[in-house]
Symmetry: C2
Subunit: 576 residues, 2 copies
């Protein structure tokens, strides 16, 4: 019987609770957002005793369905001041699901001044004092826990950034290779740090496992679903070959690659940081161009990137990180960026937020454009050690902008805008404005249809159809984020007719229910409205659904594109 685990750190109590009826059909993002909206006072301080940190595997997590191993984390965000859901691969989601844990809720703050860890197994959750691993980076934590506890543990941890409660701290999750995936956006690591939880270990030995109501139907649907993932050119070829970094050359060609802190739309040295260059480098150095972030992934967009001597440097090396430190900071050396990626994983800090913050810091004159070595020094010596400069940058792009009095600061709801310039990829701009998450490309990836011609074609430079596109994608994404599926299944789901029905059939076969496509759309709408409702009560309203004004006043080369949506056009997003 699925249950909810609850940890109260004020009273040091834990409980195993039956799942409330209203939450029974929910998983992943739908469940974390429902719990946060129901239990967290919207105007509370994100780092105070009234915020709660919630983890939930998706509806299909733990099954054999391809790419279903995502874990959602939710809370009120210290970065945006609104509701946050951030999901991640790694091994924890599948362990939670096999243990029958529908959600873990961490509430209250300890008043002891001490630090703690949580341990989850088939008996529930226990609280333990922790001192030995404080101050360590995530890699050292993973290593120490392996020695201390052995076995195939799931681990969720925070690095120094989370301990320091930096607003761009992430929660790091162990992946099948013992490396790190991140609940990256919105500073959930700071919430975990405020609750003084250094790490959570998960042991699923003896877990009851997943009950499939109709195993045959599940198998049939699963096969069709996997075939669709493998058949689509993006999920079946582009991503496995070049990783997400395939996008550098594509966005550069489209004039939508934000360069030099969102001043230009193309980067002269794009070839040096492109997916093609990265692929060849990986192969030449004996790395792995294809690699999955969780068991059952057939897309394999991750990779193992080695250094010049053939030693492991990083994995999960994403386009947005490479864009952010590359084009947007004008750093041309992919090895510097890879090392930064590894350091950010170790510190436990969001690589998108931090990269955009570095771009603003360069505009402030704190380091020179393109100075990768100084960027690395700041990561290690300033952010890693919590100096004032490190904390300013580690608190995100908005923090740097406010502290240095700058106006070219690409944030929405104080969260950094990622790797697609909204002036020349207008659909993604609507997503940045309207998603309750703060600027987030994954919330409604309109780049797919604007640039990749997935799910049809919409002119990226024109406003026509963009609000509808973003709305449909955000609704679909909210639903997908609730299934435990990787967002990249959206590519085949948009283009291959068999894909989405197969996904719905898997859910139905798993639970013995009869969801229709309309039900799934209804779920997505409900998630968005729940999140929006929380934000409105937290004080984030349509005035916050806006891009910074420089996007409207400063044309972006090469198209001289500007952001030209009226307030009313943006606000029409919520007409559903």
């Amino acid at each position: 019987m699925d249950q909810i685990l609850r940890v109260n750190l004020e009273h040091f109590t834990t409980s195993n609770e039956a799942v409330a009826e209203a939450w029974a059909g929910l998983g992943g993002r739908a469940l974390t957002s429902a719990i946060v909206a129901a239990e967290v006072p919207p105007t509370c301080h994100p780092l105070g005793p009234n915020n709660k940190l919630v983890f939930a595997p998706g509806l299909l997590s733990g099954t054999s369905a391809s790419n279903s191993g995502r874990l959602s984390a939710g809370a009120k965000s210290p970065l945006t001041g609104g509701i946050k859901e951030s999901n991640v691969g790694g091994t924890a989601a599948q362990m939670f699901a096999r243990l029958g844990i529908k959600a873990l809720i961490i509430e209250g703050l300890p008043k002891t001044g001490l630090w703690y860890s949580l341990h989850i197994d088939r008996n529930g959750v226990t609280i333990h004092e922790e001192s030995e691993l404080l101050g360590l980076g995530n890699f050292a934590v993973l290593e120490a826990l392996q020695t201390r506890l052995g076995g195939k543990l799931g681990v969720l941890s925070i690095g120094p950034a989370g301990e320091m409660r930096l607003a761009s701290a992430n929660i790091s999750v162990k992946d099948p290779s013992g490396k790190i995936r991140s609940h990256g956006r919105g500073g959930l690591g700071a919430v975990m740090g405020a609750k003084r939880i250094k790490f959570i270990t998960v042991d699923d030995s003896g877990a009851p496992g997943i009950q499939i109501a109709d195993p045959e139907a599940f198998k049939t649907a699963s096969r069709a679903f996997t075939k669709a993932l493998l058949d689509h050119p993006v999920s079946g070829q582009g991503l496995p070959t070049f990783g997400t970094n395939v996008l550098v050359n594509i966005l550069n060609e489209a004039g939508g690659l934000p360069t030099r802190n969102f001043t230009y739309g193309q980067f002269d040295d794009h070839d040096l940081i492109s997916g093609e260059t990265m692929h060849d480098t990986i192969v030449a150095r004996g790395g792995k161009p294809k690699h999955g972030c969780h068991a059952g992934c057939v897309i394999q967009c991750s990779q193992v990137y080695n250094d010049k001597d053939g030693h492991y440097l990083t994995s999960g090396f994403e386009y947005e990180t490479i864009w952010g430190l590359g084009a947007n900071c004008c750093i041309k050396d992919l090895d510097d960026i890879a090392l930064a990626d590894s350091i950010m994983d170790d510190l436990g800090i969001d690589s998108i937020e931090t990269a955009v913050a570095f771009g603003v810091a360069m505009e402030a004159g704190l380091l020179a454009w393109g100075d990768g070595k100084e960027m690395l020094r700041i990561l290690r010596e300033e952010i890693g050690k919590g100096t004032p400069l490190g904390r300013v940058i580690g608190s995100g792009a908005g923090s740097v902008g406010r502290t240095y009095g700058l106006t070219r600061v690409a944030v929405v709801k104080n969260q950094a805008i990622p790797a697609y310039d909204p002036r020349s990829v207008k659909g993604i701009g609507i997503t940045y404005c309207t998603t309750p998450m703060g600027a987030d490309h994954t919330a409604g990836y309109a780049t797919a249809t604007n640039i990749l011609n997935v799910g049809g074609q919409v002119d990226p430079l024109k406003k026509d159809g963009q609000v509808e596109l973003s709305r449909n994608l955000q609704i679909a994404t909210a639903a997908i984020d609730s299934t435990g599926m990787c967002l990249f299944i959206a590519f085949p789901a948009l283009d291959i007719p068999e894909c989405l029905p197969a996904l719905i059939s898997m859910i139905n076969a798993r639970f013995g229910i009869q969801l229709t496509g309309d039900d799934v759309v209804g779920l997505g709408k409900s998630v968005l409205k729940t999140e929006r409702g929380f934000n409105l009560k937290a004080g984030l309203n349509s005035a916050h659904d806006r891009l910074p004004e420089f996007f409207a006043s400063d044309p972006l080369s090469p198209h001289d594109a500007v952001w030209d949506f009226s307030d009313a056009e943006i606000d029409a997003f919520w007409n559903f």
Copy 2:
């Protein structure tokens, strides 16, 4: 004929405009807020080209009416993100009025990368390139301008804080003694810095002067008004003798003196920093216990505070500054605080925001509680030089709290809460929550009735009557802030029946009109609604009309008082 001067820094144009009919009856705060609400897009970046900086003398400024020499400044605040009015003494308001300048509007940003000054005289306003005085503190600017231009100039300037666009930078205004008064709150100095105006000089020689429609009636009313100011025990005795710092012992006795970053309600060493001690120190060192911030002031709450050797150290040495660095930072040496006051005047930074920021910095462990010498070093070496730490503190209390992940951060709308703890002076808490200005005691000084028994009596520890009290005071204050009157006229206005009618008679005699008491109340209401309307469009709604949650959860000694207003009770403020 009164006119509006307009300076456009994008096109380097200036104009003298007739006063729009809607603005003809407005002055001071009513006029700056009306202009900002009409001309500034509410969601614009406060430091960007679309914000405007507006100055306006009050309706009675330039006349012989006692205490009528206040100048209002308005803009969208970089600290709060909402509308801001901050008013000041000094000589400029009266010069503006005598020159027939109803308002000065500064709009746009220069694209040249250069800095400028403005000069105002009977012919209008001119723009001048400036390089020589950049980087200098306000005192050096005043001295250099005296040498450069001679005469009895009015001066408005920014120090290094404004040049750095720090969110708590103020605009400094020369007073009759050649010292400094400040548009202190909300970071208007950063707006002036963003517009790259280092200073504004005013020469009123040959000014047309003020026309009084009914000189006899004016004289009669003025006499009655002045008598009321002198007769009231607060404005006639308490303030002239001890300055505003008379409040240290009073608030300590009431248990409402926030101590050690709002942890306690009383300060053991209150005697060391009290108004009584300050008075005796001033007298012993040959300073002046009574001193006015503008010509025509009969209250004389300012003072000249000398150092141990009898040399001038500071003036305009206010209770809120002394409380903030004293009780709230546990600094016991009044000379350290006086020196800090002088340095803050020189840097051009709000002494309330900065003092509260230091309290949060002490809680963060950046310096020890009570370490006045380190506080002085940080002011000079960090804030003065714009180091990362200096910028974090110089960006205000909220900035320090966010950067260091703290929750005991006493701000509303990101503006620091001043010297009256809302748990044990509940009326002022309603003002902090609801004023469109962000936490501001001057917006509706409920301490008068809660603690000083002026305007009746309301139990400071109880909720009864507090919302109504704050509402009435905020309406009256908005009207007073429009007349050019010092807020301290509110003490006699609340208690002496002849005072308010005399004020209204002066306005009527000045303009030849027939305002009633109801008209003045209507003006106050209209100002508040205009400001609230701007804020709502800027995204500041009732969710932002809240105190930080620690006021509700952490009882304040000695009364174990907590903030216990419901959201609905607070929101009832706006029912008018």
